[in-house]
């Protein structure tokens, strides 16, 4: 269905061993990713949403190439000299406190090839200007900056090696709303200017709706719904997506907080549930849910699902 994809993930699984008995054999495995298929479109922003622990960051690491999936394949459709960069959630630990800002920003460059200092500084100054930092800050150290400024530094660092794709792992979660808006604007500008591809990980649906072209909803290491963000978020098909959207408090809500949800606990990813992963929390769960579900395309999106949901009339609150 697509023409230009920068990366393709097919059937990615990721397991982490945990515990060790006295012979060093693991007690078992954490199943962080359980069969992810995704196509990432050039120049677009893909939003990834889901509850804590559903494997978003693990997915990011697979995309970055710092973790080899236990199963499945990542295909990269860009030259070897271009790469994927990342911006992390926690601006505190993502910058080395012992490097001056100009070193931090140019690290992706000098870590790989030796360059004269003057050249690096020039590059740093250039990038700093791009992300809205004044050049005189280049000799300071990261801890002297506010959260928002640190996130700008992190973005500048991601840009320095001129990547095609930037993975943004909850880049604004630790920031205040007023600062979040600044960063989101910056990201948009940079994308427009450089034709970057973003993978934007978040649990804030409204940010995803604002920023992303496409959205993938993750649950327990699987994508349960994937499609154009306006379509998916306006008319979710999968019961989990619906639950997520229902749970988000909005300023305009009139109905108060409503009824209490019964089961909010995520199933364990050590012993994966049989059948549909969502069945224990699903209002619509029925007979067909005892088998694993596959992704099925609908008009606007792909939905992992769920005979029941596909056939049940949509019931989305505002």
């Amino acid at each position: 269905m697509t023409i230009d994809s920068v990366m393709t993930l097919s059937n990615i699984h990721m397991r982490f061993p945990f515990g060790e008995d006295w012979r060093g054999r693991p007690h078992g495995f954490v199943h962080a990713l359980n069969g992810i298929d995704l196509e990432i479109l050039r120049g677009k922003t893909l939003g990834v949403v889901g509850e804590s622990g559903c494997g978003k960051s693990t997915l990011a690491q697979v995309l970055m190439g710092i973790r080899k999936p236990s199963e499945g394949e990542v295909i990269r459709n860009f030259g070897a000299d271009h790469d994927v960069q990342i911006v992390f959630q926690d601006p505190q630990s993502s910058l080395n406190a012992r490097m001056p800002v100009w070193r931090v920003i140019t690290e992706p460059v000098f870590a790989v090839t030796k360059r004269p200092k003057a050249e690096l500084r020039a590059l740093a100054a250039d990038l700093a200007a791009k992300v809205g930092l004044r050049p005189e800050v280049l000799d300071r150290y990261p801890h002297e900056f506010s959260g928002g400024q640190r996130q700008r530094i992190a973005i500048a660092r991601a840009l320095s090696s001129d990547p095609d794709v930037i993975v943004l792992d909850e880049p604004t979660s630790a920031l205040d709303i007023s600062i979040q808006a600044q960063i989101l604007n910056l990201l948009k500008d940079l994308q427009a200017e450089r034709g970057l591809t973003y993978i934007f990980i978040s649990h804030d649906i409204s940010v995803v709706r604002y920023l992303c072209d496409e959205v993938a909803v993750m649950y327990l290491g699987q994508v349960v719904e994937h499609g154009a963000s306006d379509a998916v978020l306006a008319a979710p098909k999968h019961p989990y997506t619906r639950l997520l959207l229902d749970s988000i408090p909005t300023m305009r809500a009139t109905g108060g907080l409503g009824e209490s949800l019964s089961n909010t606990d995520l199933p364990s990813n050590r012993n994966l549930p049989t059948g549909c992963f969502f069945k224990d929390r699903c209002e619509l769960a029925g007979v067909g849910c005892d088998v694993r579900q596959n992704m099925v395309p609908t008009e606007q999106a792909q939905v992992r699902c769920c005979q029941t949901a596909a056939t049940t009339p949509q019931k989305v609150s505002a």
Binding site: Q61, N96, A111
Partner: protein, 296 residues
């Protein structure tokens, strides 16, 4: 900026990162640290300028003035061959302090590198190194030191080498632990994403960040090393005569403790005061640099 021409050495970089004003502010708040620091400075000063402050040649014997009581001629009295104890204590401090610094530097450097290496490489290498360190730590250290010192032959430098060897595992543990922590930080993950080499990560991320806990440990170690060195000298495995050394002086002096208490009392006090001062300073620096670090 002339930055492009200046080569930056890591120590200077670390020091340049210290906010001296802040450090002073913290030290001022803690009278104990301040006191410890002051005594350390005084001790270092006295010891470095021992020739200036000494009233006698520390090795000049005078059999006719053996075991003289403290007085104007000999501030702290004399020893069993009539040497001036005051002057010997001044000179003796040189040995103790030098051993302290030597051990901490040698063990610190080797231990830090080995630990960082093990932590960064991980896998088998790490396991082998750490098990080895565990084994060394399980061996009673004093016996190991005594045996090593005996094997190398008694001399202060050999004692220092023995102590340094035995203390390496402590630094390996600290630096490895710290390396593992730092390796999990997202700036290292970031560096991995742009395919930085292990060497780059070691040089730019690990080492600069483990230096401060290592330095904290090192300051704390100074006190205990001085103590340990004097203990070795006490059992005759340290400094050799006629070189003055505090532990050795206490050892000889104990034969005279009933009638000539000053012989072992003054060098004993010298050890106590110096070690206490270094420990207070180290404690204070730890509190400032690394308030979370647990006492070991």
């Amino acid at each position: 900026m002339s930055d492009a021409t200046v080569s930056v050495n890591p120590i200077k970089r670390v020091l340049s990162r210290v906010d001296w004003g802040y450090l002073w502010y913290q030290i001022k708040k803690s009278p104990l640290t301040l006191g410890g620091g002051a005594v350390v400075l005084i001790v270092l000063f006295l010891v470095i300028f021992a020739p200036v402050f000494a009233t006698h040649d520390p090795n000049a014997i005078d059999l006719r003035a053996r075991l003289a009581a403290p007085g104007w001629e000999h501030f702290f009295g004399t020893d069993e061959v009539g040497r001036d104890l005051y002057s010997r204590i001044l000179y003796g401090g040189r040995q103790s302090v030098a051993v302290g610094f030597f051990v901490v530097l040698v063990a610190g450097f080797i231990g830090t590198f080995v630990g960082a290496f093990a932590g960064l490489i991980g896998g088998r290498v790490d396991v082998v190194i750490m098990r080895l360190m565990d084994v060394v730590l399980s061996v009673p250290s004093l016996v190991l030191i005594m045996a090593l010192a005996a094997a190398l032959g008694p001399s202060l430098i050999n004692a220092a080498i023995a102590i340094a060897l035995v203390r390496i595992p402590i630094y390996v543990r600290i630096s490895r632990g710290q390396t593992l922590l730092i390796r999990e930080m997202s700036f290292v993950t970031a560096a991995e994403t742009f395919k930085a080499s292990k060497l780059h990560i070691l040089r730019w991320h690990i080492l600069p960040n483990i230096l401060s806990p290592v330095m904290v440990q090192a300051t704390l170690d100074l006190g205990s090393t001085i103590l340990l060195a004097s203990a070795l000298s006490f059992i005759g495995l340290g400094a050799q005569q006629p070189t003055a050394e505090w532990g050795a002086m206490v050892a000889t002096g104990r034969n005279y403790i009933l009638d000539q208490w000053w012989y072992s009392a003054f060098p004993g006090f010298a050890i106590l005061i110096t070690a206490t001062a270094f420990n207070l300073l180290g404690d204070g620096i730890r509190d400032i640099l690394d308030p979370k670090q647990k006492a070991r």
